[in-house]
C-alpha cells in the first residue's frame, strides 16, 4: 500500500511504461508493440466476425432442415470448405511471418553494435534485492558507485555491463530499452540512451526471490553538465559531521552493526555487502525504490527492515531512541 501511494503521489504514471519511450531503442520497441497490437486486434475482430457469421448461418440452416435431420455434405460444399481452410492457414502463416520479420528488424536496429568505444560505461550488479551501479573510468579514483539510482547524460549512448552477485536478475527500464538478464559469473552488455531529461523507473524483470517485486531503481536522465557535476559530487568522501548530534550519529554508525555491511567513504566503514551510504541523503528512494527517502521511513527501515521487505538481508537494529535520532541526523547530512 505504501509503495502504491508513493507511486501515485509522486506522479510516476508513465515513468515505467514501454508506451512512453524516452530513447531511440524504446521508440523502435514501441513501434513494434503498436504494429503487433493492431495486427492482433484485426485478427481478433475477423475471427470473431467469421465465428458469429457461422453461428448465425448454422442456426438458420438447422431451422430450415429441422433439428434432427443429418447434415448433407455435397461435393461443392466440401470444396468450398477446403478452399476456406487453405486460405485461413495461408493468412495465418503470412501474418506470423510478417510479425517475425518486423520483430527481427526491430532487434537488429537496436543491437549493441552501434555504441561508440569511448561511451560512458556503467556496470550494473544485481543483489538480492537492490542494484549497484558502478561508473567505470580509466582513472580508478574517478570510479563511483551509486546504489539504486542510475544517472545518465541526456542524448548520449551509455554502455551497460550487467552481472549479478547472487542469483539471476534482469535489468529493465521500459522507457529506455528492453530487458537484459544479469547472470552470476557472466558479463553481458547493451546500451541505453535517453533523448529527453526525466526520471524513469526500472524494475527487476526476472523472479529472484522473496522481494523480487521490491527491487526497483530510478534512472535520472539529466543534461551533460548536471551529470558531470553529479559525478564530481559523488566522488567526494562523506562530509564531516557539522553538529554534535551528527558527530554522535557517526559514533553510533561505527559502533553498531552498520559498518559490517555498509561503506561510508571517509570513515572506517568500508564493507561491500550492502549499498554504499556515502551519499545516502542525495538519493530519492530507500530500499531499492520501495520507500521515499524521508526521515521517518529511514528510521523505520533502520529499526526494522523486515517489516518493510520481509526476507531481505538487513537485520533489525534495536537501539536507544536518542541513538537512532543521532544516527538519522548523521545519515541525513550525507549529501
Amino acid at each position: 500500500m505504501n509503495a502504491l501511494a508513493f507511486l501515485a503521489g509522486s506522479g510516476f504514471a508513465g515513468r515505467q511504461s514501454a508506451l512512453n519511450p524516452a530513447g531511440p531503442q524504446a521508440g523502435r520497441i514501441e513501434d513494434l508493440w503498436w504494429l503487433m497490437f493492431w495486427v492482433c486486434t484485426a485478427v481478433f475482430v475477423l475471427v470473431m466476425l467469421f465465428f458469429i457469421a457461422g453461428m448465425v448461418r448454422g442456426r438458420r440452416a438447422r431451422k430450415e432442415r429441422g433439428v434432427e435431420a443429418p447434415m448433407s455434405v455435397e461435393p461443392g460444399v466440401e470444396r468450398r470448405m477446403m478452399r476456406t481452410i487453405v486460405a485461413a492457414v495461408a493468412a495465418t502463416v503470412i501474418t506470423l511471418f510478417g510479425l517475425l520479420v518486423a520483430s527481427v528488424a526491430t532487434g537488429r536496429s537496436i543491437s549493441p553494435l552501434r555504441v561508440p568505444e569511448d561511451a560512458l560505461t556503467v556496470k550494473v550488479i544485481g543483489h538480492q534485492w537492490w542494484w549497484d551501479f558502478e561508473y567505470q573510468h580509466p582513472e580508478p579514483y574517478r570510479i563511483i558507485r551509486s546504489p539504486n539510482e542510475l544517472h545518465i547524460p541526456v542524448g548520449q549512448p551509455v554502455r551497460i555491463l550487467t552481472t549479478s552477485a547472487d542469483v539471476i536478475h534482469s535489468f529493465w527500464v521500459p522507457n529506455l530499452h528492453g530487458k537484459l538478464d544479469l547472470i552470476p559469473g557472466r558479463t553481458a552488455d547493451t546500451w541505453i540512451q535517453a533523448d529527453r531529461p526525466g526520471v524513469y523507473r526500472g524494475q527487476c524483470a526476472e523472479f529472484c526471490g522473496h522481494q523480487h517485486a521490491h527491487m526497483g531503481f530510478l534512472v535520472i536522465a539529466e543534461p551533460p553538465e548536471r551529470f558531470a557535476a553529479w559525478w564530481e559530487r559523488q566522488r567526494q568522501p562523506a562530509p564531516e559531521p557539522a553538529t554534535p548530534l551528527q558527530q554522535r550519529g557517526r559514533q553510533v554508525f561505527l559502533s553498531q552493526a552498520c559498518p559490517l555491511c555498509h561503506t561510508i567513504q571517509g570513515t572506517d566503514a568500508g564493507s561491500r555487502v550492502g549499498p554504499d551510504l556515502t551519499h545516502l541523503a542525495s538519493r530519492r528512494t530507500l530500499a531499492a525504490g520501495t520507500l521515499p527517502n524521508t526521515r521517518g521511513h529511514l528510521g523505520g527501515w533502520i529499526a526494522d527492515p523486515q517489516s518493510t521487505k520481509p526476507g531481505n538481508l538487513m537485520p533489525p537494529n534495536p537501539m536507544k531512541s536518542e541513538d537512532l535520532q543521532a544516527l538519522l541526523a548523521y545519515l541525513e547530512s550525507l549529501r
Binding site: H210, S255, Q256, V273, Q306, P310, G311, P315, P316, N317
Partner: protein, 180 residues
C-alpha cells in the same frame, strides 16, 4: 462419476492452494530467554566452578539459518582467518579440537567476546540473531547439527571421496583418508 465427485475434486484442488508454505525468514530468539552466556571454556578455569554449557542453539535444526550463517561467515570475513573451516591464521573449525568448547553457547561466547591470540570481539557489531546463525553454520561444519538440517559439508571441504555418515546427527569423527 457424478457432479458431486467433480465438485469435490475441484474443491480439493482449489483449497489446496490456500495453504501457502510459511517460512518466517527472521525469527529472533528472545533475548530474555537466552542471557548472555557465561560458560566454562576449559578445565583450567579460575574462580568458582561454572556450569557446563548445555543445550542446543536456536538454529541448530534450521537449514535456512545455517545457510544464512554460511553467507555471513564469508561476508563478515570469518574466512579471512578460518578459511572455509580448514583454518589458516585462525584454528580449523572442521576438526575435533575445540579450544573454547563446541557447545552452541561456547561458540556464541567466542564470537561475541573474542578470544586471546587474535579472535576479535564482535559483540555489539554482529546482531544476536546473526551470531546464532553463524554458530549454527560453524557447528554444521563440525558436523554437530542434525543431518536433516545440513546434509553434508560443502564440496570444497572434501579432499577425496566423501565419507559416509550412518544416521541423523551422526558426527563424523573419522578423518577422511588423504590421497596425497
Amino acid at each position: 462419476m457424478t457432479r458431486n465427485g467433480i465438485l469435490t475434486i475441484l474443491a480439493v484442488a482449489v483449497l489446496g492452494g490456500c495453504e501457502r508454505e510459511m517460512r518466517p525468514p527472521e525469527v529472533l530468539p528472545s533475548s530474555a530467554a537466552r542471557p548472555r552466556p557465561i560458560v566454562r571454556q576449559t578445565t583450567l578455569q579460575p574462580g568458582r566452578p561454572l556450569a557446563q554449557a548445555e543445550g542446543r542453539g536456536p538454529y541448530d535444526e534450521n537449514a535456512y539459518s545455517i545457510s544464512q550463517g554460511q553467507r555471513l561467515f564469508s561476508q563478515y570475513n570469518c574466512v579471512g582467518c578460518h578459511a572455509h573451516g580448514g583454518g589458516g591464521m585462525g584454528p580449523a573449525l572442521i576438526d575435533d579440537t575445540w579450544i573454547y568448547g563446541s557447545e552452541p553457547q561456547n561458540i556464541y561466547a567466542t564470537i561475541l567476546e573474542g578470544r586471546p591470540n587474535g579472535m576479535p570481539s564482535f559483540g555489539g557489531h554482529i546482531p544476536e540473531q546473526q551470531a546464532w546463525q553463524i554458530v549454527a553454520y560453524v557447528r554444521a561444519m563440525g558436523r554437530l547439527v542434525p543431518k536433516a538440517a545440513a546434509p553434508g559439508r560443502n564440496d570444497h571441504l572434501y579432499s577425496g571421496e566423501s565419507p559416509q555418515a550412518s544416521g541423523p546427527g551422526e558426527e563424523l569423527r573419522q578423518p577422511a583418508e588423504h590421497p596425497r
